[in-house]
Symmetry: D2
Subunit: 352 residues, 4 copies
């Protein structure tokens, strides 16, 4: 009953098999193998346009190097105040941009509020150099608290970003979960809604280590090969990432895996809906569930073997905990066993 | 007949198998799984002492983060003038150290000359801040041109480094090949000879992506977890590196693979020794062979399907090419087929 | 009637004279002249202990290099949310620290609230590397909105900082004004209250260009000469800064000038107290006055020649503007003419 | 008899007087005062075209920020192997560019050899990212060893730089001395010969602290205000630099002062020409003289009160010292007294 993180899951057998298959024989290094090129072509198909795609090793790298690609001196990235880039990457975005500021923007439940974004951007008057200069807006889809932006919401933020000539970036660490939940196409959720750069995450959803930076305007990526290499993210045997992506994207495996994770989360949501000592803290549709539990309930679940983390109450939740309650995060993944969810539900029901 | 680079090889089946094996089930993320800990213990055994070991994704990361760990403001790293860190990493060492200088030191055939090291260090007078301050000496073992340092040679450089309170780092991208060639133990070739930090490479020798930074004084590594995370090199599913290392280090697989690569190189050296139109440019004992070929010979070999790169003549080779000659690099690996070496030898003999 | 900024004032005649006096003849460069050493000794006297003092060119440099001196990988500086370092230095603190984060802490009217500081620091659990690691706390004295910390308030924050092994830094861009207003001694307001590093500003208070970084524990400054030089802040003719400081510190000129600026501000405060169409937004005692004016009053004053800036309402002011009101900042300096203050008061009175 | 460095000189009385004159009254801060604008206009006149000029505090800042303005990821600056930027700035150019490499190019006596520049650039093949990418070529005029480039020599290097789309930068720490020695106009020695960016130094030649970065294509300077501010080089009271430049450039004072320094150096050269125990190491025409002295001669001169530094033999001098000889550097300045030169000459003659 591990609901600690989707990072705790392993690799899907098809991913492992692809690694073994592509392990035989020689192939050109540093991204120039036939396999690398075939996977790049797959990205074009998936996004219904020519894109420039670059494999990297971690989501932190994907985000940080994305910002480096659009950096300006004294640069500022507008992000949600609880974004992964500002809370959980140990300053990597700042490091890779030589000190760009991750400027927090308010918004309920992990989503940037457009009015707040305008408000924060208004503080940067053209030519007033003391404040620095915005260079990008980033959103997480799905967000860090499991919520989702609709296509219209993404477009609205894109319009604000582009008015001011800012790059619009999406942290897609859980991109597949967001697609599966919204039923949007990859193109509709990204470039057709105004996204310029995507951190395309696959690690959490069945790969060992497969992340990519996707530029929807390949022209903007001209310096990126140098940025990636200088950032120590050009792997010699890039085949090992390409092979994972090949299997991941084949026959819609990625969306199948994400749909499974979301479904497991749905069942957790159901279980919570039937409890009188626990409840969803706010509604989510992706593979993260946030629950307010009475403390004895949390203890009882953990005693039964459930593993999950306590969480800080996010901005704009409209919730307050009383002393006897705790907010926890439950994360499902491609590998979550239905039996585990059932056991969890039963253990929860037993606390009634 | 691929002799382009050991980076062109894939993963050894045992490595792929380990990935599949460890793919099942859940495990704690970010380096805290049981498997991670077991591999760390294996490093202690291999080096016959407690070490602090950190997995990273690329050799460039291992080198760059090693320097970051011992950085000083205005820092200078003394390296061979043809070292990988200065010639082939796109400025990553400088980037991760916020601008440390890689200061070139002379020495024949890829090895720092101790007298030259003293000479260069003498330029940095204590307290003369304009010149910056040395902070580390780095050597590559095996070197970029296939040569090796003896244990005594390493110790001699260590003494110079330590006299001036400099960290002594080894770039071990081909560490196993060097061990196999010298018959030294891992401990004797590193900390017993004065090495403080090792970039332990396994990717070229049978892994997909497995590199580690090894601190022989764990106390010196206290800030390294932050340095690695900030450098976007903390993988969420570190199991995927740990699993590779587990198989790699098991039953001496790593040394077996390296010995094979070296043996294949021996056979190339033999083939060159019997040619009257080609010769070794200088003697090597590891898995890189440098040959001076008459141009028609190089053409003929390539026409037969041999893949190898032209190379620039290194410092101190004592060789000069005439117009009709070309210097080439031939690299073998764990996966080089004896049949390929035989075909190469035959094709070479046919040019006589 | 210039109340735009104390940066608009020039240099005091004694400062200019000192420059001329010390202009004659030769002297050793890069901080090693007799004059440099004499000024360093003056700092020891003023602070009643041995300090390490380093001249730099701008307040931004003093702050940024101070943080660089105590930097840690993934480092975080706790600062007031409206601190100069986060709002007005174009990312220089982040740049000079290679990406340390300036983490905003709440507190009314420009002063960090101790409870909020504890609250923010609590988010950084030991060993939880994802969040980065705090390395310093910085306060501005006088603050950016003219308020002052008492010695006890400084000590309280120092205790929190030191509990967690954080450096405690004071941005003293208006250090002299704070001393003059509080009647504290330089020692009592700094190291005796727990300050570790001080950005000692003199530019705003009568110099052309004279800032210094003062380490109260000289041992902590050992790497600073390199940090300053690498940061392009080691001036060749440091005499030109030393000469300014010599005159500035001589016979208490600095405190005399600051007291004059504060007195001029007192008279502005008096004028506001007598107006029925303007009022102090909050009480200050240093050389900055914040006033809420009816818009026609602001227009009338400007029409009379008064120069001052509109200001954003700071956090925790307890004030709200109605549509007919504007918040403005009035800054006096060593060179503010009493006649100008009288004219301003008269113009204000005329709006009644 | 101070011949240690032109940095040991003070400020010319006209410079000090300008500071005093412009000290009175209020003026807008941060470079927007009328005086700032007037000086900017003076630069346009001097260079016979519209330029973008930015005041900074040190020559190291001017050089480092110039490189930052044209930086590319993995960037490489081609410089003479003994250039100030690589030998004497404590890594500041690397720091401000986040790790660009200063790549040494050979050339006799402080001047880049065009063939060597082509040779070094040839190593950077387009698209071969491992090596990084050149972004600029920099030359020092006058060079660090007192030599000068002719206009044709500058043009030849400019052609090579521009062929490869590299910015061409001149470190003009002794720009006025070079102009005075070559009789070239500022325009002819810079943009008409292909220079894109100039570090315009005035500190060594009579100012306290006055350096500027001059962009000959103002369009290229659009991001520079942010680069300068982020680099902590935007002074609040920029008047203090502007005032120095105003006096410096007025009535040709700068060229008069430089011509005096050069003349004093001529007289040192004459004195050496008449000695049988000392000689010029190589011929120079600017304000630096390099002499090979018998050791007892050096001792005797120092015993008489002469102050000068020993120097390392530069590349390509064609000179070798015997055991009884020492290479020394003698630097004159605007403030060198003819009487001091005469005393030096007499003391030298007395050793015959």
């Amino acid at each position: 009953m591990i609901f600690a993180s989707d990072n705790w899951s392993g690799a899907h057998p098809a991913i492992s098999a692809a690694l073994s298959t592509h392990g035989a024989g020689m192939a050109a290094a540093y991204g120039s193998s036939d396999l690398d090129k075939a996977v790049e072509q797959r990205f074009n198909e998936i996004f219904e346009r020519e894109v420039a795609v670059f494999f990297v090793g971690t989501g932190t790298a994907a985000n940080s190097l994305s910002f480096a690609a659009v950096n300006r001196p004294g640069g500022v990235v507008m992000c949600h105040r609880e974004a992964h880039v500002v809370e959980d990457e140990c300053g990597a975005p700042e490091f890779f941009t030589h000190g760009a500021r991750m400027a927090p923007v308010d918004g309920a439940l992990g989503r940037i509020d457009p009015a707040q974004l305008r408000h924060e951007l208004a503080r940067f008057r053209p030519g007033f150099i003391h404040a620095g200069q915005p260079m990008a807006v980033t959103i997480s889809q799905a967000s860090e608290v499991g919520t989702l932006y609709s296509r219209d919401e993404i477009s609205a933020l894109a319009a604000i970003a582009h008015e001011q000539d800012l790059a619009f970036h999406m942290d897609g660490a859980r991109f597949a979960n967001a697609l599966a939940a919204t039923k949007l196409s990859p193109a509709d959720m990204t470039w057709r809604a105004g996204i310029d750069i995507l951190s395309f995450g696959a690690t959490k959803n069945g790969c060992w280590c497969a992340e990519a930076v996707v530029f929807f305007d390949p022209e903007k990526a001209r310096q990126f090969p140098y940025i990636r290499k200088r950032g120590a993210q050009l792997f010699s045997k890039t085949r090992f990432i390409a092979a994972q992506f090949m299997a991941y994207l084949d026959d819609g495996l990625w969306l199948t895996l994400a749909a499974h994770a979301n479904l497991m989360a749905d069942q957790l949501r159901d279980a919570l809906a039937h409890s009188n000592r626990a409840r969803q803290a706010w509604d989510t549709r992706s593979n993260e569930v946030f629950a307010i539990l009475e403390r004895p309930v949390a203890d009882a679940l953990r005693a039964e073997g459930a593993v999950f983390y306590d969480w800080n109450m996010p901005h704009g939740s409209g919730q307050a905990l009383n002393e006897n309650e705790v907010l926890v995060r439950l994360v499902t993944s491609w590998s979550t066993e239905p039996a585990d969810v059932e056991r969890f539900a039963a253990a929860l029901a037993a606390t009634a």
